[in-house]
């Protein structure tokens, strides 16, 4: 088919951050489907909880302290996370390197506390369905956390190599910040569901 040039794209930039970039939308897509998974798991918990009048099925209360500490750590980590986002937008390599290192650390510490959270549930996964759902919810979020911390550490290493001086990489940092917000956000309802909802009634 014959063609006639009608527009010139040569002046366009070769990268864009945030919602301008396809990666941001891809990240959003994965958040949507993972969020849906969490919502369904939480829905399954609530379904069982409303089905059985004696819910918690005579199990002892979980000790909320490790979970509460994880929650506080995650909320605190949002501050450096957003500072990092600002530096990524400025494409400033020095502060981004420091920020990524800090975020790798702040991602790993809740994982250590998480180790103590499982025994603090005071029930095993094979004791009854209440125990199963607690372990499933906590396990799902732990996998989520491990994956993102792993990703953050790899990206941190990458930012200390010569590959770092690329708009694409600063975009990756921005998306990493975005995803960490999501990891923190998904934890809040799960935390409430595991530790506080059963205490209501």
């Amino acid at each position: 088919m014959k063609q006639r040039p009608a527009a010139d794209l040569s002046g366009l930039p070769s990268f864009g951050l945030g919602p301008r970039s396809p990666t941001w939308w891809g990240t959003l897509g994965f958040m949507a489907l993972e969020g849906m998974g969490f919502a369904l798991a939480a829905g399954a918990y609530l379904y069982l909880a409303t089905l059985w009048p004696n819910w918690r099925l005579s199990a002892p209360e979980p000790n909320h302290w490790p979970g509460t500490i994880v929650t506080l750590l995650l909320i605190v980590s949002l501050v450096p996370n957003h500072l990092l986002n600002r530096y990524a937008k400025q494409c400033a390599i020095g502060p981004v390197r420091i920020g990524m290192a800090v975020m790798s650390l702040l991602g790993s510490v809740p994982l250590i506390v998480r180790w103590f959270e499982f025994p603090a549930l005071n029930i095993y996964w094979d004791t009854n369905a209440y125990g199963s759902m607690l372990w499933v919810l906590l396990g799902l979020h732990t996998i989520h956390l491990i994956t993102d911390v792993g990703d953050t550490i790899v990206l941190t290493v990458l930012m200390f190599t010569r590959h770092a001086y690329s708009g694409r990489r600063f975009g990756d940092v921005g998306d990493n910040v975005f995803y960490w917000d999501f990891v923190v956000l998904t934890w809040i309802p799960i935390y409430l569901l595991i530790y506080w909802v059963p205490r209501l009634g």
Binding site: Y47, Y130, F170
Partner: protein, 658 residues
């Protein structure tokens, strides 16, 4: 430019200062397509975008057309296998008390038939058609996240192999395609068969979720300049809505199968009522996926119909906006119907009434679509060719399926015919009529684009009539035998019930229907080898995939088209307006804004890579191992991490570095 310039390896001109920001290295500029003559442009782009030669090259391909072709061929292979399952079952049922197949094998057969057709054929093939067509229709050079797309194919193939190797080893799932607990639970299904079901689901859902995300981003961000939301082709709209449905529905079945495998493998009690779990929870979770699943299969088919009808009615689709809104409405409503699969479980009356109402409601947007198509044909000057014949077949069969659907939406009737052949007839009318007939029409319609050759029209007409008569002969009598009380999923029946003759007739129809696919396969091969050359646009259709050669080159379009109309090729008959200014020495494509499709970024598209295959092997191996021990997740984590790092670590190409 001489050819010597093209043969040397990535010879980039000196750096030009680009609009650098912060600590970003300036872009090393390369040759642009502006003002380049056609021959040089094709040589440059062909070198930049080609799939590398050799076996490693083939395994590394990230070209959406190559991946889609593999998907299409593989899915067709699974269709044949699933079809053979069906033929075997029909031969067993052709008379009372036949001894060809025993109950154990029969259970595996109907389960494999359902699983194969739903998870290994229907969903992958509609997504594969989208992988091929969506980037072409939106005027882009590749799908978004091409390596993720390649990865999805490898995961899909391993899932399919896993299921069928299990079948060969007589350890295929035998609990029905929806594998209800408690039958599939640890107590009633010892052995590994139900685990095979659960993990096969994981493979195929990972794969289709990946494709869905890639499709959504391609549609939202990679549209040609000028293709604002109101100018997106209806087929692309259908795939966009479908992909959103996938994103919100597929996690439900992954949660279901994960819960099941946890109950079976590590002793959780999620579905065990004796320890505070609940068996019906399984059905809720499964059908929260399972009903949207029907629309995941059906909506792309309506998109195909919306592409075929305007091309042969010789006018743009009537009620474009109405068709788009219907697609979106069906997408939303599909999430509000799942409980109508569970009317026989003794739900509260109010809940049942609500789901009856919503089940009837979804007939409204579907009806709007059908009337828009009829209006398009009414007002057009229809040219009746094989693709349109299959669309007519779709109308006839799908409307009957839709009507029995409205009947089944009412609880009293549903309770009477629950688990009978009436239901079998209904969902085959809906799924084969609603999806397979449009797919066959689409195969005739787009085959020339994919291969550059036409399929035989004469064989096509024979194929249509054979399929249409065979289908109705096989499935219409099932309504009757269902109303007489014949239950589904029985491997035989006693002669005294008098169901022998009608079942023999059904088997005859099934064989006829099967033969129609043999004819189709012959027509495909014959067309690919000896068909008449098709040219760029054999049907004189109006959307962008017809603007490029058949088959399209690796880079799809030498220059990115500019869209001025919903049928751009009909609006610009003289010469297609195009955009220039992209680099030709690296894989550059255009990112545009979401609503208006204003050009925004020259983005680099990923280069071929073997790592998605390695990652798929690591992930697939972990899934496989995990049916034997939960520790597989721990042992599998390291290879998965290594392959993913290999995948994402930058490789010193301009595509990775700039």
């Amino acid at each position: 430019m001489s050819s010597a310039d093209l043969t040397s390896e990535r010879d980039l001109p000196p750096e030009r200062e680009a609009t650098a920001k912060g600590d970003v290295a300036p872009e090393r500029d390369g040759p642009r397509d502006t003002g380049m003559d056609d021959a040089s442009l094709h040589r440059w782009l062909a070198r930049t975008w080609r799939t590398p030669p050799g076996i490693i090259g083939a395994l590394s391909s990230v070209d959406h057309k190559v991946v889609a072709r593999r998907y299409l061929i593989t899915a067709f292979g699974f269709l044949c296998l699933g079809g053979l399952n069906a033929v075997a079952m029909r031969i067993q049922l052709s008379g009372p008390q036949r001894g060809l197949i025993g109950p154990d094998l029969y259970n595996q057969l109907f389960t494999m038939h359902g699983v194969t057709m739903m998870f290994l054929f229907a969903v992958p093939i509609v997504q594969a058609t989208g992988i091929y067509l969506v980037p072409l229709m939106v005027g882009s050079r590749n799908i978004a996240f091409p390596r993720l797309n390649a990865f999805s194919y490898w995961i899909y193939v391993s899932g399919g192999l896993f299921a069928w190797v299990s079948f060969a080893l007589a350890m295929a799932p035998d609990v029905g395609w929806f594998a209800y607990v408690p039958l599939s639970g640890p107590e009633f299904s010892p052995g590994k068969r139900a685990d095979v079901w659960a993990q096969m689901i994981t493979y195929t859902e990972v794969s289709s979720l990946a494709v869905a995300v890639a499709t959504i981003v391609t549609v939202l961000k990679q549209r040609a300049p000028g293709m604002s939301l109101d100018k997106i082709p209806l087929y692309v709209w259908a795939l966009l809505v479908t992909s959103f449905v996938v994103v919100f529905a597929m996690p439900a079945v992954m949660i279901t199968s994960t819960f099941l495998i946890l109950d079976r493998l590590v002793g959780t009690h999620i579905f065990n009522p004796a320890e505070g779990g609940d068996a019906l929870l399984f059905q809720h979770l499964f059908w929260f996926f399972g009903h949207p699943e029907v629309y995941i299969i059906f909506l792309p088919a309506t998109g195909m119909v919306s592409a075929i009808i305007p091309a042969f009615a010789r006018r743009p689709a009537f009620g474009h906006l109405g068709l788009v809104l219907s697609l979106i409405a069906v997408g939303f409503l599909s999430f509000g119907l799942w409980v109508h699969h569970m009317f026989a479980t003794g739900l509260p009356k109010l809940g049942a009434s609500f789901f009856t109402a919503s089940s009837m409601l979804i007939a409204i947007p579907n009806g709007v679509q059908i009337f828009c198509w009829l209006a398009t044909l009414w007002d057009g000057r229809p040219v009746i060719r094989t693709p349109l014949l299959f669309v007519f077949g779709f109308f006839f069969i799908f409307v009957i399926g839709g009507l029995t659907g409205v009947m089944l939406a009412s609880v009293p009737l549903d309770l009477q015919v629950h688990d009978t052949y009436f239901v079998v007839a209904h969902f085959h009318y809906v799924l084969i009529g609603g999806s397979v007939f449009p797919l066959l029409g689409a195969a005739y319609f787009w085959f020339p684009k994919i291969t550059g050759r036409m399929m035989s029209e004469r064989l096509g007409r024979w194929h249509f009539w054979l399929a249409f008569i065979g289908f109705n002969a096989a499935f219409f009598p099932m309504h009757l035998v269902g109303l007489w009380g014949m239950p589904r999923r029985v491997y035989t029946y006693p002669a005294e019930l008098g169901w022998g003759n009608i079942n023999l007739f059904i088997t005859g129809g099934a064989v006829l229907f099967f033969l129609s696919f043999v004819l189709f396969a012959f027509n495909l091969v014959h067309g690919a080898l000896k068909g008449a050359p098709a040219g760029d646009n054999p049907w004189d259709a109006g959307t962008l995939e017809w603007a490029t050669s058949s088959p399209p080159p690796s880079y799809n379009f030498a220059r990115i088209p500019i869209v001025t109309n919903v049928e751009p090729l009909w609006a610009e008959r003289e010469a297609l307006p195009v955009a220039t200014g992209l680099r030709v020495d690296v894989r550059e494509l255009l990112i545009s804004t979401v609503a208006e499709a204003h050009p925004d970024i020259r983005e680099k598209s990923a280069t071929p890579s073997i790592w998605p295959l390695f990652a798929a092997i690591a992930v697939g191996g972990t899934f496989l191992y995990s049916i034997f021990t939960p520790w597989a997740i721990v042992w599998g984590a390291a290879p998965i991490a290594i392959t993913l790092i290999g995948w994402f670590w930058p490789k010193d190409t301009p595509e990775d570095e700039e």
